[in-house]
Symmetry: C2
Subunit: 268 residues, 2 copies
Amino acid sequence: MAASNSLERVLSVLQVFSEDRLEWTPEEMMAELGYSRPTLYRYLKTLKDAGLLTSTPNAGFSLGPKIVEMDYLLRKSDALSLNGQPYIEDLAGRYPCTALLVRWYGKKILCVASECSTPDPLSSYPRGRPMPLARGAISRSIMAFLPRRQLLPMVKANLDELSAVGLGDTVEEILDSYRRVRKAGFATAQGEVTAGVTGFAAPIFDAGKSPIASICLTIASAELTPDREIAISRDIARAGAELSNDLSDRRNALDEDENDTMREREHP
Amino acid sequence: MAASNSLERVLSVLQVFSEDRLEWTPEEMMAELGYSRPTLYRYLKTLKDAGLLTSTPNAGFSLGPKIVEMDYLLRKSDALSLNGQPYIEDLAGRYPCTALLVRWYGKKILCVASECSTPDPLSSYPRGRPMPLARGAISRSIMAFLPRRQLLPMVKANLDELSAVGLGDTVEEILDSYRRVRKAGFATAQGEVTAGVTGFAAPIFDAGKSPIASICLTIASAELTPDREIAISRDIARAGAELSNDLSDRRNALDEDENDTMREREHP
DNA sequence: TCGAAAATCTCATGATAAGGGATTATTGAT
DNA sequence: ATCAATAATCCCTTATCATGAGATTTTCGA
């Protein structure tokens, strides 16, 4: 992970900002990153000009306005958040729970929207909070629908953790567990992420065939009755399917437009 | 603004993503940015590894998970948002309005939190939306409290726009207007940003003497009565002052801690 | 207004980005 | 499951440009 060129080096500056430490003085960064004074200041100037950092006199540097603006762009234009919001609101209205939209980023899953209908939520997953990759219903609802090519290396890489939550002791057993999730159309998990909390999650597809996200409902296990469990399963599976439809309709509409435009370009 | 080195060039890739265009194919970026194929792909790989971009098969690149995570860090740890939230909730509870916290970034002001208590808000300023620098109560409540050194060049740069909203025709007249705002302790503006909307804003100070943000209330001008106007002015000025106190107390507490730590280091 | 601390500049040197063309992964359609 | 088409990466030479020690200028608080 060591930065091997100046591009990576300049971006590593961003990685020093964490939950524990949002303000850094140049001196501290020099020590942390091992850059010389002029080099660090060059990087800082560049990042500041790009808006990724901001400096406050006497308090050093912290993350800049461009971050907030770019997140705004994502929230405002992300088809998943926009189309999904009504679904999680609906779910949160039906049960005393937290409903989440979680996006899959290849190597990371991240909550992008959440709605909560319990006064004191057991587990808190606001937008931007990373989620575990190998545990929980969300992760499983996505992994189960990945093509074998992508799934296999991930299973191998996380074998221990996947066994620990009871998916099976060998790669084949785990793949079988995923096959069952795929058949059911949704995943459940009890206490894998937060003790006393059960999760229900269904995958969300964009026009393609591999999932891009998951819609999830987390509820205190104590609130569950067999009837309710069935109802939630049905609701979450339906929400996932409908949201997938919304997204692929939208995507197809866009593609149509694009084709039209291209045709127009060919025969103006 | 032309990128003059590879650091700036790699960051300019981020600048192509806008409200209108959140998905770019490498081909399109090559055309837009004028980079060669291998160079662009090198940049993209670097940005993707840093999490700033993400690629979706067949749909090109868009902004990545790191953006969302960093915004989460800011929201979660920003003293302004954390301490300010109760104040804007309180204001939104008292009047049919939108209450905002707006941070000052040197060359840009940006909404970082907002609460709305009207069903159909006239003006919408959610987190991340940039605000005009030379117009409106927010801008004025900050500018008025800047040290002359910082204020003067900004006034000169925006002379036309500042005259247009009636602050005065010469630099001296405008500085006088700001002086009056400083005396009052808050700023108001009618319809400068959105027609039919009046804004009230007070500056927020961190321990230092120049303002770091503004707390603002926007309300339909039709909702205003003379009494209410007085009440809002008083409330916004008080909120700004109290929030400033909260922040500088916190900051001083931190500094104390730091001194303690240093003392401990000196005499372990 | 001034003095200390912070940020930037200068410039010689050596490291390393750039890009044309070829090559290898990936993808989705059969 | 296999294959053709497209997308992404590699190779390698050239010339560019990033680096950092030290000096200098700017900024900020008293």
